[in-house]
C-alpha cells in the first residue's frame, strides 16, 4: 500500500513513465521562419551599450590605475604615517583623509587646480549617472514611455 503522506516524496517512477507516454504536440510548420520574420529590423537589435560593457570596465579600471599611479608617489610616506598610530574606527577616518590628501597632492603636483579637479569629478559623476539611468531604463522599459 502506498498512502504517501510526505509531500517531498513526489518522485514517482510509475507516473513518470506513464506521463512520458503522452503525445507531444508537434510544433507548427515554419515556426522558426515566422518568428525570424517578426523580429525587429537590424538597427533595433538588442545590442549592448556602445561600444561594449567590457570596454567600460577596462576604461574605469585604467582610469583608477592612472589616478593611483599619479597621486600616490607624491605622498606615500605621509599616507602610511597618518594611520600608523590610529586604532579602531579612527583608522577609517584617517584612511579617508589620507586618500583625499594623496589625491589632492597628486593633482596639485601635476598643476590641476581645484576648479579643474571639480570639473573632472563632475564629469565622472555625470557619466556614472548616465550609466545608472540607462541601466534603469533598460530594466524598466515601461518607465521610458512618454506620459499621456
Amino acid at each position: 500500500m502506498d498512502y504517501n503522506k510526505n509531500i517531498n516524496n513526489i518522485d514517482d517512477g510509475f507516473l513518470r513513465r506513464l506521463i512520458k507516454l503522452t503525445a507531444e504536440e508537434p510544433v507548427p510548420d515554419g515556426f522558426v521562419k515566422k518568428i525570424m520574420q517578426q523580429l525587429p529590423a537590424s538597427e533595433q537589435q538588442p545590442m549592448l551599450a556602445e561600444p561594449s560593457r567590457r570596454w567600460i570596465w577596462i576604461v574605469a579600471v585604467a582610469a583608477v590605475a592612472v589616478a593611483i599611479v599619479v597621486a600616490i608617489p607624491f605622498s606615500t610616506g605621509d599616507f602610511f604615517a597618518r594611520f600608523a598610530s590610529a586604532d579602531g574606527f579612527q583608522i577609517y577616518r584617517q584612511l579617508f583623509g589620507s586618500v583625499v590628501g594623496s589625491f589632492s597632492k597628486g593633482f596639485s603636483a601635476i598643476h590641476i587646480s581645484s576648479i579643474g579637479f571639480l570639473i573632472l569629478i563632475s564629469t565622472l559623476l555625470l557619466y556614472l549617472l548616465n550609466l545608472l539611468l540607462r541601466r534603469w531604463f533598460d530594466q524598466n522599459p515601461s518607465a521610458a514611455q512618454p506620459c499621456r
Binding site: D2, I10, R16, M36, S42, Q45, P46, Q139
Partner: protein
C-alpha cells in the same frame, strides 16, 4: 568540402563558428540556420546545440541569425507550455511566437542569473496565462476535498497489464480532465523532467507550493485512475 565553401561564403555564419565547428554542429543545421527558406530541420534531425550563452552573445553582438538557433532549440518546450495552458493550437502558436519576439527584444536585459531556458519559459508561461485569463476568467483549482481511495498496489498491476496504447489513452484522458495549469505542472515535472526549483521559476510559485501541488495532483491522478479502472472492470 561543401560545408567549408558554404561557411567561407557566409559572413554571418563565419562570425558564429569556432575553429572546431565541424565537431559541434551537424551539416543540416548550418544550412538551416543560414537559409530561412529551408523547411524546419527540427522535424527530421536531432541537433547538437552549443550552450545558450554562445548564441545570446552572438545576437547581442548584432548577429540576428543566431537567434534562430535559440528558437530551434527551445521551440518545442515553449509551444508545449502554450498549448497545455491554452488547449488551442492556433492561439498557442501565436502566443509562443510572441514569447520568442519578447525574449529577443528583452535579451539585452537578460542577466544570466537564471538559465536562459527558464527565463524564456517563464515569458511563455506568463503570456499563455494572460491569454488564457482573457479567454476564460475562472480557474478551476485542485479539489482540496479529495479523499485517498486508491492504493498503488492495486493500480500498478492493472495498468501494467494494459497495452502501451491503452496506457497512453488512459493517462491522456486523466490529464485532459485536469485544469490547464495542473496539466502543465505534471508535464514539466514528470515528462520534461524539470526540477521543482525550475518549475517554481517558470510558474512563479514557491518551491513548497509546487511540491504541494504536485503531491495533490499525483493523489488526484491515482484516485481518478482507480475510479476509471473500476468502471472498466
Amino acid at each position: 568540402m561543401i560545408i567549408n565553401n558554404f561557411v567561407s561564403h557566409s559572413p554571418a555564419l563565419t562570425a558564429i563558428l569556432p575553429g572546431g565547428y565541424k565537431n559541434l554542429f551537424k551539416i543540416d543545421f548550418f544550412f538551416h540556420l543560414c537559409n530561412p527558406m529551408l523547411p524546419d530541420a527540427s522535424k527530421t534531425v536531432q541537433m547538437n546545440y552549443r550552450d545558450d550563452s554562445f548564441y545570446i552573445s552572438q545576437v547581442l553582438d548584432g548577429n540576428q541569425a543566431a537567434f534562430a538557433a535559440l528558437v530551434e532549440k527551445h521551440q518545442q518546450m515553449v509551444f508545449t507550455i502554450a498549448v497545455k495552458i491554452l488547449r488551442n493550437r492556433e492561439q498557442a502558436e501565436e502566443i509562443a511566437q510572441d514569447a520568442f519576439v519578447k525574449a529577443y527584444s528583452a535579451l539585452s536585459s537578460f542577466k544570466g542569473e537564471a538559465k536562459f531556458s527558464t527565463w524564456l519559459y517563464r515569458i511563455a508561461y506568463n503570456a499563455a496565462i494572460s491569454a488564457g485569463r482573457r479567454r476564460k476568467p475562472e480557474y478551476a483549482a485542485i479539489d482540496e476535498t479529495l479523499t485517498e481511495n486508491y492504493t498503488t498496489d492495486e493500480i500498478h498491476p492493472q495498468v501494467e497489464a494494459m497495452s502501451q496504447e491503452e496506457q497512453m489513452e488512459l493517462i491522456e484522458k486523466l490529464m485532459q480532465r485536469l485544469p490547464e495549469e495542473d496539466n502543465l505542472l505534471l508535464t514539466l515535472y514528470y515528462k520534461k523532467e524539470k526540477s521543482v526549483a525550475e518549475v517554481a521559476e517558470i510558474t512563479g510559485y514557491s518551491q513548497s507550493n509546487v511540491k504541494i501541488k504536485l503531491f495533490r495532483l499525483r493523489r488526484r491522478l491515482y484516485d481518478d485512475m482507480q475510479q476509471t479502472l473500476e468502471k472498466m472492470v
